[in-house]
C-alpha cells in the first residue's frame, strides 16, 4: 500500500514537471501542486497505520504496570504476562494449561518431600551469566520463604518453605518442609532469577529484570515497556525483534487502535466489542472460557447467611444464572462447581441450581422467611457486573428477599471486602487462577483463617490440607471431588454464577499468537507476516 502510494506520488510530480516544461502550467502552479502533494504525503493513507515493521509488535494491555520488577512481590496479572517473556521457569504452561519442560529437561520425585530436576545446559541470562543449579536454589529458597524476607513476598503464599540442594551444575533437588502436591504447577509461575542478582538484594531485583527469557527489557516508561529479542535465548531467538507493551485503560480506545492498525494485539476485549472485530476482515478475535469464577460470596461470619444454609440455598435457587451468563455472552458458561473450567479435578456438581423461584421460596421459608441484606459489587472491572447484580436483585426480591445493591468503584469495593469494618452481608466478585492446580483457588479463598468469606469450616480445611499434601493424582482427584461436593451441597459459602469469557484481538497478519487461560502471554513464537 505504501509503496504503490509512493509510486503514485512520484508519477504525479513527474507529470507536473512535464506540464511545466511544456509551459502548460506556470512555475507558481507547479510549486503549489508539489507542495500540496507533499502535504498529502504527510497524511498516512488508508491502512498505513497497519504497517508495523514486520518484526516489531505493539501489544495494548488493559492493566497498568507494576511499579517495580521484583517477580515474586506482586499478584498482578500484567506482571505474570510480561515476566513470562523476560524470565523462564523450570516448567512452562502451554495454552491448554498442561505443562512442558522449561529450564528443567526432566524431573522425578525422590520421596514425598524431595524432587530432583535435571537442568538444561547452555542457558544464559540476559547479562551473559550462565544459568546453573545455584540460580534455581537461590530463586526457590527466596520465593518459598525458606530464606525469610521482610515483608513476606507475595509469592511465598503459594509455597511451603523449600530448600534447594545443588547436586551439580545441572542437577538440583527441591526439598519441601512438608509434602506439597501443587509443586510442579507452582514452579510453572515461579520465575528463575540469577543467584548473583538475588545476592545483590531486593533493590537490585526491583530495578531491572535479568532473566533467561526470549526478550530483554530495554525501555521502562510508566505506561510503556519495550522488550527486545534476546539472541541467546535457549529456545532460539524469537521471531519478533521488538515487543512494545502499552497500557491503555479504556477498552474502546484499545479496540479503536487495533481497528485503525495502530496496534497488533490487544487484550481484554469485552463481549460488546466482539461484533466489531468479527465484522472486520483485517482483525481476528481469539476467545476462550477462562478459569475464572464470578460468584456471590456470603459473609459466613455474619448473620443472616453465616449460620443459615437454607437462606444461602434460597439465593442459589432464586437467581437466573443462565440469563446472567447470557448478559456477558461470548464463551461465558454457567458455573457448575467451585472449581472453574480448566482446573484439574474439576467436576460438574448436581443439582445445578437452575432458576426455580418455587424452590427458592421454599428454602427461604425453611430458613425463617424473607430477610434484608446488602450486596456490594464493583463497577468497571468485571464485565457486566452491574447488570448481573441488578438482575440478581430483581430475582431475589421477587422470591421474598429484600436485597440492597451497593455499587462501588474498585478501590472502594476492595476496601469493603477486606477493610476492618466489613460492611454488607454478601458481595459479588471474581477469582482467576494462574495455574490449573485447584489448591491455588481453594486455599486462598476458602481455607480458614483468612478465607474471603470469613468461613471457618473444619471439613473444608481438612480436605484442602489433604489436597495440598498429596502428590498422587488419584488421591487428589478423590479429595477435590469430595471438597467440591461439600462446598456445593453442604457449605455453599458462595454461589458460583459464571465462568468468564476471555477474549483478545489481533491483526490478521499476526501469526502464532495464542491466548493462555492462565493470564500469561508467550510472544516467542509470534510473528508478523
Amino acid at each position: 500500500m505504501t509503496t504503490s502510494r509512493g509510486q503514485w506520488m512520484n508519477e504525479a510530480v513527474a507529470f507536473a514537471a512535464l506540464k511545466l516544461r511544456r509551459g502548460e502550467i506556470s512555475r507558481r502552479h507547479f510549486m503549489q501542486l508539489t507542495a500540496s502533494l507533499g502535504a498529502a504525503a504527510a497524511l498516512p493513507a488508508t491502512g498505513a497505520f497497519a504497517q508495523s515493521a514486520s518484526d516489531n509488535l505493539k501489544f495494548l494491555v488493559g492493566e497498568s504496570f507494576w511499579a517495580n520488577w521484583h517477580p515474586y512481590n506482586h499478584t498482578a496479572q500484567i506482571g505474570y504476562k510480561i515476566q513470562r517473556n523476560i524470565f523462564s521457569r523450570l516448567v512452562e504452561v502451554k495454552p491448554d494449561m498442561s505443562l512442558e519442560p522449561g529450564l528443567a529437561e526432566s524431573w522425578t520425585q525422590i520421596d514425598p518431600l524431595t524432587w530432583e530436576f535435571k537442568l538444561r545446559r547452555g542457558v544464559t541470562f540476559h547479562n551473559g551469566a550462565p544459568f546453573t543449579a545455584a540460580d534455581v536454589k537461590a530463586s526457590i529458597e527466596l520465593a518459598s520463604g525458606f530464606v525469610p524476607s521482610d515483608p513476606v513476598l507475595a509469592m511465598t503464599s503459594n509455597w511451603l518453605p523449600t530448600e534447594g540442594i545443588v547436586v551439580d551444575d545441572a542437577t538440583v533437588q527441591l526439598k519441601t518442609a512438608s509434602p506439597l502436591g501443587p509443586i510442579i504447577n507452582t514452579l510453572a509461575f515461579t520465575d528463575i532469577m540469577s543467584a548473583a542478582d538475588i545476592a545483590a538484594g531486593q533493590a537490585a531485583l526491583e530495578a531491572r529484570p535479568n532473566g533467561t527469557g526470549a526478550f530483554m527489557l530495554t525501555g521502562d516508561e510508566p505506561n510503556v515497556k519495550t522488550l527486545e529479542r534476546f539472541e541467546n535465548h535457549w529456545r532460539g531467538p524469537a521471531k519478533l525483534k521488538t515487543l512494545s507493551w502499552e497500557f491503555i485503560q479504556d477498552a474502546q480506545t484499545r479496540l479503536s487502535a487495533l481497528l485503525a492498525g495502530q496496534a497488533d494485539v490487544i487484550d481484554r476485549v469485552v463481549p460488546d466489542q466482539r461484533a466489531l472485530i468479527d465484522g472486520n476482515a483485517e482483525v481476528r478475535l481469539i476467545s476462550i472460557t477462562a478459569p475464572e469464577i464470578q460468584s456471590v460470596w456470603f459473609r459466613m461470619d455474619k448473620e443472616p447467611f453465616g449460620s443459615n444454609l437454607d437462606l444461602r440455598k434460597a439465593v442459589a435457587w432464586g437467581m437466573d444464572r443462565e440469563s446472567m451468563a447470557a448478559i456477558v455472552g461470548g464463551n461465558t458458561l454457567v458455573a457448575d462447581s467451585h472449581l472453574a473450567t480448566g482446573i484439574e479435578y474439576r467436576a460438574a456438581q448436581s443439582p445445578l441450581y437452575g432458576f426455580d423461584p418455587d424452590r427458592a421460596k421454599a428454602a427461604l421459608a425453611a430458613g425463617g422467611g424473607g430477610v434484608a441484606f446488602e450486596l456490594g459489587a464493583p463497577t468497571g472491572f468485571y464485565p457486566k457486573a452491574e447488570e448481573i447484580c441488578q438482575l440478581m436483585q430483581q430475582n431475589l426480591n421477587e422470591v421474598g428477599f429484600d436485597m440492597k445493591l451497593t455499587l462501588l468503584e474498585l478501590g472502594a469495593w476492595i476496601d469493603m471486602l477486606f477493610g476492618e469494618s466489613k460492611p454488607g452481608e454478601a458481595f459479588y466478585g471474581g477469582w482467576g487462577n494462574i495455574t490449573r492446580d485447584p489448591d491455588f483457588a481453594v486455599a486462598t479463598l476458602l481455607h480458614s483463617p483468612g478465607a474471603w468469606t470469613g468461613a471457618s469450616d473444619a471439613k473444608s480445611d481438612q480436605l484442602i490440607d489433604a489436597g495440598k499434601a498429596s502428590s498422587d493424582p488419584a488421591e487428589r482427584s478423590r479429595i477435590y471431588g469430595e471438597l467440591q461436593a461439600h462446598l456445593w451441597n453442604d457449605l455453599l459459602p458462595s454461589v458460583p454464577i459464571l465462568f468468564s469469557d476471555l477474549s483478545s484481538g489481533y491483526r490478521a497478519n499476526v501469526t502464532g499468537y495464542e491466548l493462555y487461560p492462565t493470564a500469561v502471554q508467550d510472544f516467542w513464537p509470534v510473528e508478523i507476516t
Binding site: P44, P151, I248, S256, E409, A412
Partner: protein, 320 residues
C-alpha cells in the same frame, strides 16, 4: 478628575497585588480541599497494592512505606511543607517523584489545549463576525445551528465518532497517540467542538451589542467606511467579553482534555490523573490538581491584566 501617571501605575500595582494575593489563597484552598477529599473517598491505596486477603500486618507494612499510617494532620503538614519547597511527593504506583511525572506529561496537555484554543478562535471569531454582520440572514442562521449542534453533542461522543469515521473507516488519521502532527487533528476537533460553539455565540453577541452603540451610529453618519467601523471600532470593543470567556474556557479545555486524552490515549495530565485516581495514587492526583489549579489561576490573572489593558474603567476602578 484624572489620575496622575504615578498614581495610575500605583493603582495598577495595587490591583495586581490584590489579584496575586487572591490567587495564592485560591491555590492554598485547592491544596486543602484536594488533600482531604481524596482521603475521604473509600479505598485504601495499600490494600490495592497487596494480594487479596493479605494479612493486616502486610497491609500495615505497605502503609508505613507509603506514609498513610501517620495521623492525617501530620500527613497534611508534610504535604504543605513539601509543596512550599516544590516537592509534590513520590508516586505510590510508579515510585517516581510526582513533579517529574507531571512535568513529563504536561507539555502534551498544554500543546493539545493550546492548539485547540487557537483553532477554536480561528474558526469562531470569523464565523461570529460573519453572523453578526447580517443578523437573521442565511449565514447567521447556519452559524447559529452549527453553534447549537456543537454545544449539544458531548465531546466523548464526537471523539468516538471521529475515530470510527476517519481512523477506522477511512484510515486517514491515527486513532491514538501524539507522535505526529496529524495526530492532533481528531483530538483538537473533539476538544474544540463545544469551545467553538461557545465562542461563536460570544463573538456574535458582543459584535451585535457593539454595533448598536452610539459611536457606531456617529461613525456611520460621518461617512466612515463600514469595514473600518466593523473591524476597527466594533471588534476592539467586542474583544473584551471574548477575552473573559476565553479565560474562563481554559478551565473547560483542561477538564475536556481529561476525556479527550482517555479517548485518544493522549499522554497528558488527564490520562495520568485518571489512572492515578483508580489506583488511589494520592500524590499524583494532588500534583495534577495543583498544577491545573495553578494554571487556571494564572490564566485568570492574565485575563484580569488583559481586561485592565483593554478596558481603562477597570484600572480606574482599581485606583478608586
Amino acid at each position: 478628575m484624572r489620575a496622575t501617571g504615578s498614581g495610575r501605575s500605583g493603582g495598577v500595582a495595587r490591583f495586581l497585588l490584590r489579584r496575586f494575593a487572591q490567587a495564592l489563597f485560591v491555590i492554598f484552598g485547592v491544596a486543602c480541599v484536594t488533600f482531604f477529599v481524596l482521603r475521604l473517598v473509600p479505598g485504601d491505596p495499600a490494600r490495592l497494592m497487596v494480594p487479596p486477603g493479605s494479612s493486616e500486618a502486610v497491609v500495615e507494612a505497605i502503609r508505613v512505606k507509603l506514609g498513610t499510617n501517620l495521623p492525617l494532620l501530620e500527613q497534611f503538614w508534610a504535604y504543605l511543607v513539601g509543596l512550599v519547597q516544590g516537592d509534590l511527593g513520590t508516586s505510590f504506583r510508579y515510585e517516581r517523584p510526582v513533579l517529574d511525572l507531571v512535568l513529563s506529561v504536561f507539555p502534551a496537555t498544554l500543546a493539545l489545549g493550546g492548539v485547540a484554543m487557537l483553532f477554536s478562535l480561528l474558526v469562531a471569531v470569523p464565523l461570529g463576525i460573519a453572523a453578526a454582520a447580517k443578523p437573521g440572514g442565511v449565514t447567521d442562521r447556519i452559524v447559529l445551528v452549527l453553534a447549537i449542534v456543537g454545544q449539544s453533542l458531548p465531546n466523548f461522543w464526537i471523539g468516538v465518532m471521529l475515530v470510527l469515521f476517519f481512523s477506522i473507516r477511512l484510515g486517514w488519521l491515527p486513532a491514538i497517540g501524539n507522535e505526529t502532527a496529524v495526530s492532533y487533528i481528531l483530538p483538537v476537533l473533539t476538544l474544540s467542538a463545544v469551545l467553538i460553539a461557545t465562542l461563536i455565540r460570544t463573538v456574535r453577541q458582543s459584535m451585535l451589542e457593539a454595533l448598536s452603540e452610539d459611536y457606531v451610529r456617529t461613525a456611520r453618519a460621518k461617512g466612515v467606511p463600514w469595514s473600518r467601523i466593523f473591524f476597527v471600532h466594533a471588534l476592539k470593543n467586542a474583544a473584551i467579553p471574548l477575552v473573559t470567556v476565553v479565560g474562563l474556557q481554559i478551565g473547560f479545555v483542561l477538564g475536556g482534555a481529561f476525556v479527550v486524552e482517555l479517548i485518544f490515549n493522549w499522554p497528558g495530565v488527564g490520562l495520568l490523573a485518571l489512572q492515578a485516581i483508580s489506583t488511589r495514587d494520592f500524590p499524583v492526583v494532588q500534583g495534577v490538581v495543583m498544577l491545573v489549579a495553578i494554571l487556571f489561576v494564572v490564566a485568570n490573572l492574565l485575563v484580569d491584566i488583559a481586561y485592565a489593558y483593554l478596558n481603562p474603567r477597570v484600572r480606574l476602578g482599581a485606583e478608586q
